[in-house]
Symmetry: C2
Subunit: 395 residues, 2 copies
């Protein structure tokens, strides 16, 4: 498959930030101004590139994004801000576009100054290599300890025109040592109004990147964005046009595919588990319960041990802060209901659940029986390897 | 040392709930009615003994507490409530005291019915063996996967009378598999008014049992209580008497000693770390930041790996939800300040901190520089052993 989105060029190269010859510098370029919607980390400590990009996206218009891996440019003070601007501005100059239309992102080690010299001297080569099929090399250049590049692509007719969407992503929820973490860039040639794009993207983020958990950490560098350059020439999608539903589904599909890849590539992960909470009073309560279960070390170690320890799940539900009725909880591991009305069921159900847990991927459904809202979160197990990777990362 | 508190008798025996001949049934008895203050788990899913005891402590008066280990009597529905009452009521009958003055606690596996027959047939022997020096055997009988019994004792003059306090405790914050967890019983012969006892105990709990973290879990069975029988015959301590300060200090000392023992005995723990947050705007904000750092898997694995990975601490501070100023944060590992104004200091400081981390016990101080409130939390590292213990507990 060719990961190509008309009007977008991309490239990824090695600039020597990372050891060896691994790619560590990526550039995405839109031939015409693209409208943009973006979300940034909720962490109060925001890395310099996050602060710079947050400011620049206010224009709701962009031309390019430059990204480095290997260094997060976080906890670097005012010097870090100046480094981030320098990196973006030199790229802008090389591409002959307005500074303010270049966004910047970083991921890697926290607390070290960005090697701006190495970056700036490689920018001409980075720009020169921009090409329509460069998205996979950009996807590779944004990785840190990820074990595979994450790309999702789809192309469909909206009205009579073909619309493409391609997304790339890296890392997950500060799963990495002092790596700073989740980045996602989604490109589309759809013609769409800013308001509509904003609405779709925020909704899509909620059920994708905001519904995954590796270890419950939030990094200083997270950012996700969508760029739309209108090149497909479809009738412009607005909040009221009938095509918006189809386009939303395409975006959601890309975001969920990327989010799942991130969870599957979680540090030390051997299981991929969907925690589904149903019949909650409110959506936010369903999600809070799902996250409390998904983030519980005890639940996650039980997943790793393939032990159907439902007592821990019940306890995590109860500790979520959501006002639930203990005697109404049902818990199922796929088709095996191990808890009914808050009490354990027959041993056969537990044995059946135990078999389900041997699989690489499975679902846990929690029925709160107190309303009609639902939410789902994707999570992993907690293994020895997580600890090994995280205990001695820097040494 | 003889752990004796005048007017209190205790005993601990093996009744066959646990495998082998390990003690699993404890009884504490006060020769005269004792006033009581108690706190119970905040988990919405409360084990049967918690529900029964919560109801009975409303009388603010008690005569005895019966405790079993090996079975939590949690997620057992109405049958569980009836089992808990039965256990307490048969003990009451045997001691010839009012049912309502007997409290009950359980700890152990969640989701299995209590073996009430085994318990009730052993109650006569349990009551018969009550004796003034039985506190250590009770301390032993309440343990689950703890590696040592936890007892703290002090005796001091209040006015002209000697006052004794002895506390026993087990387990910590749902560190155990599907074990349900933290129990503490403190006995004193002080004469004190109920209001004063309540105030002191609640304050003491806040800075002891509510300031420790093993893995951030909250169990279905936690309870802590203090019983005061007035046998010391001291002038009754009220909220306004000058002796209240001295007595508070004694209680706080016992509670903190027990809390520290629990952390030191945390599953798989190889480090004991005090996280101290200073110069926060509010106490609750200081505590929230301290807990977010203390509960972070990334911070805890770095402690285990003896890696001074301060970027993770900064990130955990930022992700705590407290509104902090990133450029004012200072972080010190004892006398080595590794972060100043949100930015890393010289390499020598980090090397010094690295040495500190080799110790079994050390302190991390986080200065938020935005107020004058402070809080401290005791925590541990996250090791392979934690995962081993928790992955396959039941098999």
């Amino acid at each position: 498959m060719r990961f190509e989105v008309p009007g977008f060029l991309a490239n990824g190269i090695s600039s020597g930030i990372k050891r060896g010859k691994r790619k560590d510098l990526a550039l995405i370029y839109s031939e015409t101004p693209a409208i943009i919607s973006a979300v940034f980390t909720q962490n109060r400590v925001k890395a310099a590139p996050v602060l710079v990009s947050m400011d620049r996206v206010k224009k709701q218009m962009t031309r390019a994004v430059i990204v480095n891996s290997g260094n997060a440019n976080a906890c670097t003070g005012k010097a870090g801000i100046s480094d981030a601007c320098k990196m973006a501005n030199i790229a802008a100059k090389e591409m002959k576009i307005d500074d303010e239309l270049v966004l910047v992102a970083s991921t890697g080690v926290i607390g070290e100054r960005l090697p701006t010299e190495r970056i700036t001297e490689n920018i001409p080569r980075l720009v020169e290599g921009l090409n329509p099929f460069g998205i996979p090399s950009a996807a590779e250049a944004i990785l840190t300890t990820d074990t595979f590049p994450k790309i999702a692509f789809c192309k469909e007719k909206i009205g009579k025109k073909e619309v493409s969407i391609c997304g790339i992503a890296k890392g997950a929820g500060m799963i990495m040592p002092n790596m700073a973490t989740m980045l996602a860039f989604v490109l589309t040639d759809a013609a769409i109004e800013t308001d509509a794009l904003e609405e779709i993207f925020k909704e899509g983020i909620e059920s994708s990147f905001n519904s995954i958990s590796i270890d419950g950490e939030t990094s200083t560098n997270d950012m996700a964005m969508i760029l739309a350059n209108g090149r497909a020439d479809n009738p412009v999608i607005t909040r009221y046009s009938k095509n918006i539903g189809r386009f939303s589904e395409m975006v959601f599909d890309i975001l969920v595919r990327l989010a799942k890849m991130i969870v599957k590539d979680g540090e030390g992960a051997t299981k991929f588990v969907e925690i589904r909470v149903i019949n909650a009073r409110e959506y936010h309560e369903a999600k809070k319960v799902a996250f409390n279960v998904a983030n519980s070390n005890l639940v996650k170690t039980a997943f790793w041990g393939e032990d159907c320890n439902w007592g821990r799940i019940v306890s995590a539900i109860g500790a979520s802060g959501v006002d639930i009725a203990a005697d109404r909880i049902n818990i199922s591991f796929e088709d095996a209901m191990v808890v009914k009305d808050g009490v354990g069921t027959e041993k056969e159900q537990e044995e059946k659940a135990q078999k389900t847990m041997k699989k690489r991927e499975f679902k846990v459904e929690i029925d709160l029986n107190c309303g009609s809202s639902k939410a789902r979160v994707f999570t992993t197990d907690l293994s020895h390897e997580y600890i090994d990777i995280n205990a001695n990362y820097r040494t």
